[in-house]
Amino acid sequence: MANPVLVVLQQREGGLHRMSREAIAAGQSVAETLGGSVEAVLLGEGLDAAVEEVSAFALAKFHVVEHEALASYTPGAYVGALVEVVDAVQPSVVVLPHTYQTVDFLGLLAQRVDAALVPEVTGFESADDGLLWERPVLGGKLTSKVAVRGGASVLVSVQSGSFSADGARSGEAPVERFALSADPEPDRELLGTEEVGGDQVDLSQAGMIVAVGRGIGDGEKMSVAEDLAEALGAELAASRPVIDNGWLPRDRQIGSSGQTVSPKLYVALGISGAIQHLVGMKGSKTVVAINRDPNAPIFSVADYGYVGDLHEFTPAFTTALREAADS
């Protein structure tokens, strides 16, 4: 019997982080390939709502670690607790969501449990002696495949949008309260938080997004995109060149240096589809791309495309939507 796959879930103030569900989907997929069971662990305090939500997924065991020292995240306390859980479960693979919080403690956890480490995984494939993990290198210009040597256990953090949360199988997860043998020791004191640059837009929860790229040509011509966004009830966003030109505020940037989104509809207007942009939106359910260049890489991740001038197509799309809504 293969060792289990352990999924480390993330929560904030008792609410499950969106990417926790993607991590469950990834863990289930890995276990299906390797032939082991899937277990999950959640750390924190006051977790009732999150526990109820997670217990409806198909998991062999769901370890819940509640302790006042875990109420807010610190790497020292979290890693201390996770080392105990990893020692007890003996997983072959530990799957974590690739969030800022995970990256903060991942190196430390790998050092403590002496496991191999493969961050920012976007997929995997079977090889003769285990799995090959795919991850971007050199700013996403290349994809690398990484093998783990000698049957070592491995920590992998999965990039947002690489595994669909909808793919997480539901079922029943027996909840096991995990008793720590030592009190977790926070290694930093939380003094507070501060907003960066005023109002911020969280696009990660948006159901529909209209994103504008360099192909818009001019900041003065943004109204075609605004009209479409209004007709759809969508948020307006952009790729980096549009933001750098000051045509939209920086908090609406999608991509590796901006936000990562997974709406049900993503409309890309005049976006060529550099990998730095694609990593931020490829988790979208349905992608529509409008571009003049038939070879633009955006068409390779799109479901529907139109090759032509966005300034002609976008108003026609807006009109067709309004007509359909009236009919």
Binding site: L108, L132, L138, G139, S144, A147, R149, D251, V288, F317
Partner: protein
């Protein structure tokens, strides 16, 4: 205060990249190498902290002979000394082996604070700082946007979080801080700095100096191995809607309603 700064020399990602013949990495011939971006910010932060405390900045790198160029540049902008972890046995590892080797080298120099960039622009694990912290038994923080050393042997640290919020935390020192690009303005080397750098100490250490067995470090000791790299594949491709804009737009709305069911 003696501040260690760990830097990495990386290929300039703006350069045109070609695959090496074995397709396990890029062909490094003709590719310009630079100091990793966030490491430059870490170095600047260290120089400012040292200036405020009459401290010393010791810069470390692990890499082949060409990495000396990165150390010389760091000395030219103001670092006091440099330590080059230069040994074929140390090469080709991952964040775990590199972090372990750097931690040993830092211990030898008895540093009070370690700064490094948050992520390398080539491999981009973002984990080396955490590994160093684990080996030293010090607290650490990733994605640091501000550092203030306090009198009580602590540091007030601003950390970047997702969706435009910074978190402010207090850590006890010594600590490892992984600096995010953008928190300061890295200075340029002056001509005088470049001349002075030639006289500054640049020492080399190897695996044996760090008590690391050759089979436990570098490529031999790493638990991970890159088996191939390639340019990302393109997907299946979109269904391209034909006709003029009005016809295609009506078709699109129909598809989004009936096929994709997103409207």
């Amino acid at each position: 205060m003696r501040i260690a700064v760990c830097i990495k020399q990386v290929p300039d990602t703006e350069a045109r990249l070609r695959l090496r013949r074995d397709e396990r990495w890029i062909d490094e011939e003709d590719v310009p190498f630079v100091i990793n971006e966030s490491d430059e910010y870490a170095l600047e932060e260290a120089l400012q902290l040292a200036e405020a405390s009459e401290g010393e900045v010791v810069v470390f790198t692990l890499g082949p002979e060409r990495a000396k160029e990165a150390l010389r540049k760091a000395l030219a902008v103001g670092a006091d000394r440099a330590v080059h972890l230069r040994d074929d046995a140390l090469e080709g590892g991952d964040a775990s082996t590199t972090g372990a080797a750097l931690a040993r080298a830092i211990e030898r120099e008895e540093c009070d604070l370690v700064l490094t960039g948050s992520q390398s622009d080539d491999v981009g694990f973002g984990a080396t700082g955490g590994v160093i912290a684990g080996h030293l038994g010090w607290p650490h923080a990733w994605l640091v946007m501000g550092v203030e050393v306090e009198e009580e042997g602590t540091a007030r640290v601003v950390r970047e979080m997702e969706s435009g919020v910074n978190e402010i935390v207090r850590l006890r020192l010594p600590a490892v801080l992984e600096i995010q690009a953008g928190l300061n303005h890295p200075r340029y080397a002056s001509l005088r700095g470049i001349m002075q750098a030639k006289k500054k100490e640049l020492s080399e250490v190897g695996a044996s100096d760090l008590d690391l067995a050759p089979e436990a470090t570098g490529a031999a000791g790493a638990l991970t191995e890159v088996v191939s790299v390639g340019f990302p594949e393109s997907g299946e491709g979109a269904e391209i809607l034909e006709g003029d804009a009005e016809v295609a737009a009506r078709q699109l709305v129909e598809r989004l309603r009936r096929e994709a069911k997103v409207l």
